[in-house]
Amino acid sequence: MELSETDRLVVAAIVDGLPLCARPFKAIGERVGLGEAQVIDSLTKMRDGGVIKRFGLIVRHHELGYRANAMSVWNIPDDRVGAIGRCFGKFDFVTLCYRRPRHLPDWPYNLFCMVHGRERAAVQGQVDQLAIACGIENVGRDVLFSTRRFKQCGARYGAVPSQLETVA
């Protein structure tokens, strides 16, 4: 969908998050000269059109005890990567799954699957479970745990807040 001028005003007005007050959409509208109904219509349209993936709390997973943040990476034959990606997505401990390019010779992996958990051993076991359940115990894989987090913020670029969808 194409964003209208009104949509862009709403996005800009909400860049810091929703105001915590009884009529938050009215407050958003007042910042940019729009009525409450216009703001609600615009957000509804963006949600239904897929521009807004979801609306609600964005958690800091580390602060909630999710300390083991594993990026599992897999070297999957190109003709199977779609099927395997969809197989990974069925597991509730998988938080993200993307196909990305290989960089040969030192980076052979083309499927990235994030698993967030509380303990490293449990997360390692979940990655093993993925390999078994999706029938790829024999493909090359690695698990990169995060050791430090330097930055997790909604960086602003123009009027567009960045995406937590990309927690990696």
Binding site: R23, I58, G65, G89, R99, Q163
Partner: protein, 152 residues
């Protein structure tokens, strides 16, 4: 750092409100009713969770491509003795949204989010110029799953 202490109601709010916030005139009243809270009680709880650092934000999560922006995952191999210096240099870019150290030869992984897709390559070039290191760009080719919801 110890995890943020949560009581049962905090957990119910976090588990129930990572999506699906009602878009209506009195959304906190409506969302609160599902949890047995008044609108004011829910507002106060959310505010407390933000203050205690359990939440980064309350609002929309956007689809970057549909917003017209650029987004990628990039990695580099930082020498151990320069690791902190490199991290500071990478984090100095406003376009770097997340940055994690990981246990691999590629030991620094970061997300670059830009206003336009064309700006991604420029930022990568600027990071390479500043750090003197090669940045490997690993953009998404296909997306299979985005859940990114956390049960507590």
């Amino acid at each position: 750092m110890t995890p943020v202490d949560l009581d049962d109601m905090d957990r119910a709010i976090i588990n129930g409100l990572q999506g699906g916030f009602p878009l209506c005139e009195d959304p906190f009243v409506k969302a609160g009713a599902a949890l047995g809270l008044s609108g004011e009680e829910l507002l106060s709880r959310i505010s407390g969770l933000l203050d205690r650092g359990a939440l980064s934000r309350f609002g929309p999560l956007y689809n970057a491509e549909m917003m017209g922006g650029g987004l990628t995952l990039a990695a580099l191999k930082a020498p151990d003795d320069r690791f902190d210096e490199i991290a500071d240099q990478v984090n100095s870019f406003a376009e770097v949204a997340h940055n994690y150290a990981r246990d691999d030869d590629y030991n620094m992984w970061f997300v670059i989010a830009t206003e336009t897709p064309g700006r991604i390559d420029q930022v990568i070039g600027e990071i390479e110029a500043l750090t003197g290191l090669t940045v490997t760009n690993m953009p998404k080719i296909e997306e299979f799953f985005i859940g990114l919801r956390f049960e507590v």
